[in-house]
């Protein structure tokens, strides 16, 4: 089973590297968004209720990361749907492999890609003057939360891809991703959000995820936001993996 999962993960990674359309949006789009936000909204740090930060870029890095990880989920969903459309899914199903390996292979790849996304945005931040206040332990914490979240969003994308069976439907969820992100504390502190966004953001797991990713960047690692972030990422991953396995079962049952 492990050998098959790793082989399928390697295939998914290869596809990411060979088809820039898969990987590039995960890095370019949040980077542009980050540039626009940092360029135009820096003075918001002086607003009452804005947390103590060295600079707006330090604060925004977690938002860009969360956005990038979400887009990673969309990309995984599109890849899963394309696999069904192209017939490769049938090849996997007709092979004597455990069915769950089909799901896990892609999720291992999603986790690895998430690690790359985290390192990319941290490096980008450092290159443009941000500081990782939590130091090396902080980087490791961000990496762990990011990878777990990446697997979760990947599983969610995969569940949608397996249900939808066509890439264009999965692509259609992209605007929804932005809406969910905007009603969280990914780009602004919860205290500065107006109703009803502030209320929604309190129940939005992305808020806890973004805060968990942000804490080690803007301060020493503090347990509460980090554990909340990790819990949000793990919760998303567990629920989404369950949905993904259910979607796979449904797909096989419908066949």
């Amino acid at each position: 089973m492990t050998r098959v999962v790793l082989a399928l993960a390697r295939r998914a990674i290869r596809a990411n590297l060979r088809k820039p359309q898969f990987l590039a949006p995960l890095l370019i789009f949040p980077t542009l968004f980050l540039a626009v936000n940092v360029g135009g909204l820096t003075s918001t740090t002086s607003l009452q209720g804005f947390p103590e930060v060295r600079g707006f870029l330090d604060f925004q890095l977690a938002g860009a990361l969360t956005q990038s990880l979400l887009l990673g989920g969309v990309s995984t969903g599109i890849a899963s749907a394309l696999e069904i459309e192209g017939g490769f899914f049938d090849r996997l199903v007709a092979s004597p492999i455990p069915r769950v390996a089909i799901v896990l292979g892609r999720l291992v790849a999603a986790g690895l890609v998430a690690g790359v996304q985290v390192l990319f945005f941290l490096a980008l931040g450092l290159a443009f003057g941000a500081e990782i206040a939590g130091g090396v332990p902080g980087v490791l914490v961000v990496l762990v939360i990011g990878i777990v979240a990446g697997v979760g969003f990947g599983a969610l994308g995969q569940a949608i891809g397996l249900r939808a069976r066509n890439a264009s439907t999965v692509q259609g969820i992209f605007p929804l991703v932005l809406v969910i992100l905007f009603v969280s504390s990914a780009f602004f502190p919860r205290a500065l959000l107006s109703p009803p966004s502030d209320t929604i953001s309190r129940f939005n797991p992305l808020s806890y995820l973004a805060d968990g990713l942000r804490d080690p960047i803007i301060s020493e690692v503090s347990w509460t936001p980090v554990l909340e972030g990790l819990a949000a990422a793990t919760g998303i991953a567990v629920v989404a993996m369950g949905l993904s396995v259910l979607a796979l079962r449904g797909r096989l049952r419908d066949a």
Partner: protein, 321 residues
């Protein structure tokens, strides 16, 4: 024990469409079974049930001795599958795909490379194995698909319309490979809409129409069922066709002649009767302008059983040597 044993197999979709309506067939080990029918007849649905991609809604089927519904994992270990559209990852190279397929089938790591190289060589893709599959022609993709289906030396090989859309050279290569597999004793279940393909490759043919098998047997036996070969003759001077018909009745039944033909006569002896027929006509003062020996085809069998012609029957099919 049959390599494939199908009893009353049915598939009804949620829409209510019954794609396969209670078919029975048995394929012996080492046999090449041609499953012939037009588009939409139920060929692919049948194959998808036999390779465990689709659940039957009625009846039963065993492949390599295992039930497709209750023992699908056992079936998957023993079959090779090349589906209608070559399901390949266009971003991977041929070699990478072969190695992935070997891993999926649990071939030991130490054997993967050698097995992959051997098979890509066998289907003539050694030079292209390092290239991405997206750069392959249709024929190359089909050959790679076939090689992948063979990576674990399956007991039963399913080929779903393996040559549809291929150029004559690629078709010839695939036909040769199927013949080689037969010589090696592999059981092959081959669906096709090409009459000549079934005729050339299959030991036995099952003809399916509207989800039901309408005829089954060896190609020769099926064709014999619908009649004898006949000679279509065109004469230089057709002013006394009655006399010509009377003369030819000595050889067999004189049939209604198709358009452009003056006389059509059934000849039990086939080609051996051409010379005597020409001689008799010549001695009676008739000059033969053209003459064609027409053997009954599987299309005639299909037409006899269903009242329709097979789609693609008129499509020219290359006849590899």
């Amino acid at each position: 024990m049959a390599a494939i044993d199908v009893r009353g197999l049915e598939r009804e979709y949620r829409s209510g469409l019954k794609a396969v309506r209670g078919i029975d067939l048995a394929v012996a080990p080492g046999e090449v079974y041609g499953f012939l029918g037009p588009n939409g007849a139920g060929k692919t649905t049948t194959v998808r049930m036999l390779v465990t991609l689709l659940r039957p809604t009625g009846g039963s089927a065993t492949v390599a001795g295992f039930d497709v519904a209750t023992q699908p994992a056992q079936v998957r270990k023993r079959i090779g599958v090349a589906l209608q559209e070559a399901a390949l990852d266009l971003l991977m190279t041929g070699r990478e795909l072969m190695e992935l397929q070997a891993t999926l089938h649990g071939i030991p790591r130490r054997d993967v490379r050698a097995r992959a190289e051997d098979l890509v060589g066998r289907v003539g893709l050694s030079q292209a194995a390092g290239r991405r599959v997206g750069t392959y022609s249709g024929g190359m993709r089909r050959r790679l698909d076939l090689a992948m289906a063979l990576i674990h030396e399956p007991e039963v090989l399913f080929l779903d319309e393996p040559t549809t859309g291929l150029d004559p050279t690629s078709r010839a290569t695939l036909w040769d490979e199927v013949r080689r597999l037969k010589a090696e004793g592999t059981t092959v279940f081959l669906t096709t809409q090409y009459l000549e393909e079934a005729d050339q490759l299959a030991d036995r043919v099952g003809i399916i129409a509207d989800g039901v098998i309408v005829a089954e047997g060896t190609p020769a036996a099926l064709k014999a069922e619908v009649g004898l070969p006949h000679l279509d003759i065109t004469l230089m001077d057709c002013s006394d066709l009655t006399r010509a018909r009377e003369l030819l009745q000595a050889f067999g039944d004189v049939r209604p002649a198709p358009a452009g033909v003056d006389v059509s006569v059934a000849v039990a002896g086939g080609a051996t009767e051409i010379a005597p027929v020409v001689r008799v006509l010549d001695e009676a003062g008739f000059t033969v302008a053209s003459l064609e020996l027409v053997a009954p085809s599987l299309d005639d069998v299909f037409a006899e059983k269903t009242g329709r012609r097979l789609e693609g029957a008129a499509e020219p099919v290359a006849a590899p040597a």
